[in-house]
């Protein structure tokens, strides 16, 4: 039997009904974060880069719910607006990495033989290269900035996705329905893209959700190191970096607020990703 990803998701009858409060809470939290990202400009009481030197390192107050940073900027507004960049970056990098990685993984699994060996060696070489060093090299060549960081990380993540795709594609290609389509004369592209890929989607989806958390952390790390988002952006990794000088002065919020936001989203994404993999993978 063949099925599509959406159909598979909808027909997983146990998925919605199984009691899993942690999963439900995480999903609800992520939904809230997405809503915040969507409506951040309406929710934020101040522009995120509005400097107020009369209110530096301010404590939480009705005027500034989470306090202010070293430039007197409203932390709550920066956190809300930062949600956008902090979520869009990992999404974009995963989109790029998925297109490249899935294509490589599928081609390798479908063709086998020397194509598989060649692609495996290429991805092995990329695996062997330290990820951060590779990303820093790409940034050194193409310049700093959030989108360079996204492209660099997409290239670094592509081999990971390629390996995963290849492994699940190999087991999928061994199923009888693939031979059935071949006998019917369907083209390789048609079978791979229209039949095999949709059946791999549930497993891929869970894996990609977990990778999203990693991507968020990686982009935040690059921004922290000065390679990603540039000031006065309120990307969370950059907020952590900018706020860290306050620690020695006893002002923890400018670092801890974005740090906890990163931690909370990554934990929630991991919970959701793991649960999705567990449920969809088990039923695939």
């Amino acid at each position: 039997m063949t099925t599509t990803a959406t159909g598979a998701l909808l027909r997983r009858d146990g998925l919605a009904r199984r009691r899993d409060p942690l999963y439900a809470v995480s999903l609800a939290f992520l939904g809230l974060v997405v809503l915040v990202a969507a409506f951040a400009p309406l929710l934020a009481p101040y522009p995120p880069d509005a400097i107020d030197f009369t209110a530096i390192w301010g404590s939480p107050s009705p005027a500034h719910l989470l306090g202010t940073d070293q430039l007197g900027r409203d932390l709550f507004s920066r956190l809300l607006l930062g949600t956008r960049e902090s979520l869009i970056g990992p999404l974009a990098l995963l989109a790029g990495a998925t297109v490249i990685g899935v294509a490589i993984g599928l081609v390798a699994a479908w063709n086998g033989g020397w194509v598989d060996v060649l692609l495996a060696r290429i991805t092995d070489v990329m695996f062997a290269f330290p990820g951060l060093l590779f990303v820093v090299l790409v940034i050194a060549v193409f310049g700093k900035g959030p989108w360079t960081a996204v492209v660099a990380l997409a290239l670094a993540y592509a081999p990971v996705i390629a390996k995963f795709t290849r492994s699940i594609a190999l087991s999928e290609l061994a199923r009888p329905y693939v031979d059935a389509y071949r006998v019917q004369g369907a083209s390789a592209v048609h079978i791979a893209v229209r039949r095999v890929l949709p059946n791999m989607t549930p497993a891929l989806l869970g894996y990609l959700v977990v990778l999203f958390g990693e991507g968020l952390m990686s982009l935040a790390t690059l921004s922290y190191l000065g390679f990603g988002a540039q000031p006065p952006s309120s990307e969370w990794g950059l907020m952590v970096q900018e706020g860290q000088d306050g620690i020695v002065l006893g002002h923890f919020a400018p670092t801890l607020v974005p740090g906890l936001a990163i931690a909370a989203v990554v934990v929630a994404v991991n919970i959701v990703g793991v649960r999705l993999s567990e449920r969809l993978g088990a039923r695939a």
Partner: protein
Amino acid sequence: MNTPFPRRRLAGTALATGAAAILLAGCTAAGPSTSEAPAVELPFGPTTPAASGPVDSVTWMLPSEPATFDFDIDSGAAENTVFANVCERLMAVQPDLTTVPHLAESAEWVDDTRVVFTIRDGVTFHDGSPMTAADVLWSMQRHAAEGADESDEYANVVSMEQTGEREITVTMAQRDAIFIQAMAGNGGMVLNPRVVEAQGDAFGSPGTPDACTGPYTLGEWKPGSSLTIERAADYWDDSREVLAGEVVFRWADQSAVVNALTAGEADGSYLDSPASAIPLQQVSDVSLAQGPSTNAWVLLATERGPLADERIRQALSLAIDRSGITTAAFGGLAQPWKTPIGQGAWGYETEAFQAAYDELEGAPASPDAADLERAKALVAEAGAPDEPILVASDGGSVRNVVSNALVAAAKQIGLDAEIVTVPSAQYGDFYSDEAVRGQADLFSDEYYISKNDPVGFYKNGASTATVNFVGFSDPDYDALVKEAFAATDDAERAELAIELQRRWVEATPWISIAQSPSTVALRAELTGVPASAAYLYYPWAADLGTTEG
């Protein structure tokens, strides 16, 4: 299928995150904002109280590891802090930032273009060999060589020769009124040629001996870990008491320096930023002091393009909030400042300099509506640049505040500005690498001079000056620089320096931000070191001892 992320651990992590959030709210709510906190006041003066007794060993924190002790290659705060104790100069900076003869017994102008240094007898290098006039001449020629880091101090020198057993005569193209003072800086450092030549290109790197005459010798330098200087066994100056037996230098960023001082793992440090003194005020075991310096934070304009029109620079200078910057970046322990050098540079005619400073316009502490209107008018007159003004930051605390404030100021007057982050390791290349300067129109830095004479700074505005990146060119200014260098009368030189200062502030090749006093932190039972910026050239460790004998 096994769950790679066990449910219990997930729950625990989520709970920990929530608990941390609650804890954070509690912690944050407890502390007042800086704007509400009382103004910080520290003892201010050239030195800390004199020590009563010696100390065997101290651990001293630096902002970074020294790169070399070959000062003709490079020198910065870390290198100077260490080797001020090891190497000596023809003249010597005192804690009050005045200069006195040192390895030179005297320095005198014998006519309009010749200055004679009489070399002190009885000085020995750390290898025991006597310092001769030939050694001094060799050292001066090395510093003056093209490409040497200190060669700018010798810009007016035509020739140098030994004219007696203990006499060096320097001939100038014109009288250089600050040349003698300049010999209290690294350009006047006397090196042992035999040691330097024996080491070749390796001289100045870890594992090579020093070639100096100072009260301390270089001990072990463990790259990446520590550097030790030890009291010189046979220091030539018997009259000089050398209190600290050895100083072990370690290096870290400012947070770690503060932590090391708080935890009692370090005995002292000249703080990289006065703001670091704020948390240390709460530590009972640490004493703090501030002193005069020539240091000032400035934004240097580059040749990249958009700031070539001085009206744009003037507009930015009018709009930037210096007062806000000093509060945000220095916790109020630095002062908004209109000129590119600190008050410590006013080594003579202080009242005249103060009066002239007070009259300067175009660099308000906090811009008011009139300043912003003037700035907008200047931008309208000049026309806004086609591309955004790029201001560099390395992500460090002060540069982050300065660059964000510049962007905010630009926005207020209708200019578009963006921040570019340049790694700290590359930041120093702004001075030497045109390609690096191509990344930004402005880069902020803390600039200081070794001489307590503003003329020593304002030469940087001459059209041929190496740090006049933006290409400020004014023939009258160039002529004034020459005139000021030739004026050995203090009152006359002060008048010329004040005119140079006025023209500099008007043209704004650099945008001045704040003067930053020197700040020293010491374990409470230690004292004696200068609080002023003299520590960069003065053997401060020799004065470091205990408060009780």
